[in-house]
């Protein structure tokens, strides 16, 4: 991946996108990795019993979708030593087993500071296979 530095990053430039297919194995593995075992994620039987969110299926962790979006940023900046210093997200629609999530990011702001301390803002979206936005987030990234 090309070197990413504050001076050369262009506003409105798009980061390479990331696509993830989500199934129950992915969700349950994420539960173990994140120590979040809320039954809405790991118990299809319970989700069916309570008719969770009206469709009765488990849903993926919001933090998992958030991590996919954040990985768009780290894939882009980490090899050059960039540092993610702020993250904010909103989860708009559930992600269900069988969904394919496409995450995209665009550099929307540049904040000049002393050398080595400038940061950019990346606006991110996550959409499912129906083109519906399931989550949005912003990442503040300090770039060398």
């Amino acid at each position: 991946m090309a070197n990413v530095n504050f001076d050369d990053v262009e506003l409105d430039s798009a980061l390479p996108e990331l696509v993830r297919h989500v199934d129950q194995r992915v969700i349950t593995r994420n539960a173990a990795a994140s120590l979040d075992y809320n039954p809405i994620h790991v118990s299809p039987a319970w989700a069916a019993k309570v008719d969770l969110l009206g469709e009765g299926t488990t849903i993926a962790h919001g933090m998992c979708t958030f991590s996919f979006m954040t990985s768009v940023v780290t894939n882009w900046c980490a090899p050059s030593g960039g540092f993610v210093c702020g993250l904010e997200s909103k989860f708009l629609r559930p992600v269900r087993p069988g969904d394919t999530i496409t995450c995209k990011g665009v550099v929307s702001e540049k904040h000049p500071r002393q050398p080595g301390k400038g940061f950019v803002v990346v606006e991110l979206t996550a959409k499912n296979q129906r083109g519906e936005t399931v989550a949005v987030s912003t990442a503040r990234v300090r770039l060398p």
């Binding site: 993830r20 129950q24 194995r25 992915v26 349950t28 593995r29 994420n30 539960a31 173990a32 990795a33 994140s34 120590l35 979040d36 075992y37 809320n38 039954p39 809405i40 790991v42 118990s43 299809p44 039987a45 319970w46 019993k49 309570v50 008719d51 969770l52 969110l53 009206g54 488990t58 962790h61 919001g62 933090m63 998992c64 958030f66 991590s67 996919f68 954040t70 990985s71 780290t74 894939n75 980490a78 090899p79 050059s80 030593g81 540092f83 993610v84 210093c85 702020g86 993250l87 904010e88 997200s89 909103k90 989860f91 087993p97």
Partner: protein, 183 residues
């Protein structure tokens, strides 16, 4: 069937094997939306000593194969000088430090829904770091019939450096029964 996918099949690290993964078990003792103490500052008792396996397991759990978050040798030659956690590696740290009762245990409430999060990060998390947390009430509100709760938690390492601040918010169910959220 999806029920054949067992949590137990994914427990690989020492912490994962030790952590209580049945969130129903002590659900009656979890902190409730209506009972939060507006003024208390909670120094959480537990610590999270970061192991290589913790970082690697989390990266695998979010399907991120970036060598800087997975491969010790590659990471040592990289810009951070060693393996570091993905920015959201804070997630298992948060759940581990909260434990299964006491302040902040509302995050384990069965049926709680995540509307979005806000995190500020100040330092990388590395193997060998010992992370502690201090947590306090930040806000609670009702909107369109849903009950939101936010705690602000500050995470520090063994050098007393601030590692992160997390404004953690969940929508909490109104009942301990099996009533589902309906939107």
């Amino acid at each position: 069937m999806d029920d054949e996918i067992r949590v137990e099949d994914f427990l690989t690290t020492a912490k994962q094997k030790a952590f209580e993964h049945d969130f129903f078990k002590q659900a009656d003792e979890y902190e409730k939306w209506e009972d939060v103490d507006f003024d208390a500052v909670h120094e959480l008792d537990r610590t999270f000593t970061v192991e290589v396996e913790d970082i690697q397991s989390y990266s695998q759990g979010i399907l991120d194969d970036n060598p800087l978050f997975n491969d010790e040798a590659a990471a040592a030659a990289g810009p951070y000088g060693g393996l570091v956690g993905h920015p959201l590696f804070l997630t298992p740290i948060a759940f581990w430090l909260t434990g299964d009762s006491g302040p902040g245990s509302w995050v384990r409430t069965p049926g709680a829904i995540n509307p979005g999060q806000k995190i500020e990060l100040y330092e990388h998390v590395r193997p060998g770091d010992v992370i502690r947390a201090r947590s306090r009430f930040h806000d609670k509100w009702i909107k369109r019939g849903k009950r939101y709760l936010t705690y602000l938690t500050e995470y520090t390492n063994q050098r007393d450096e601030l590692v992160a601040k997390w404004w953690a918010t969940l929508i909490l169910p109104t009942s301990r029964s099996d009533e589902a959220h309906r939107f």
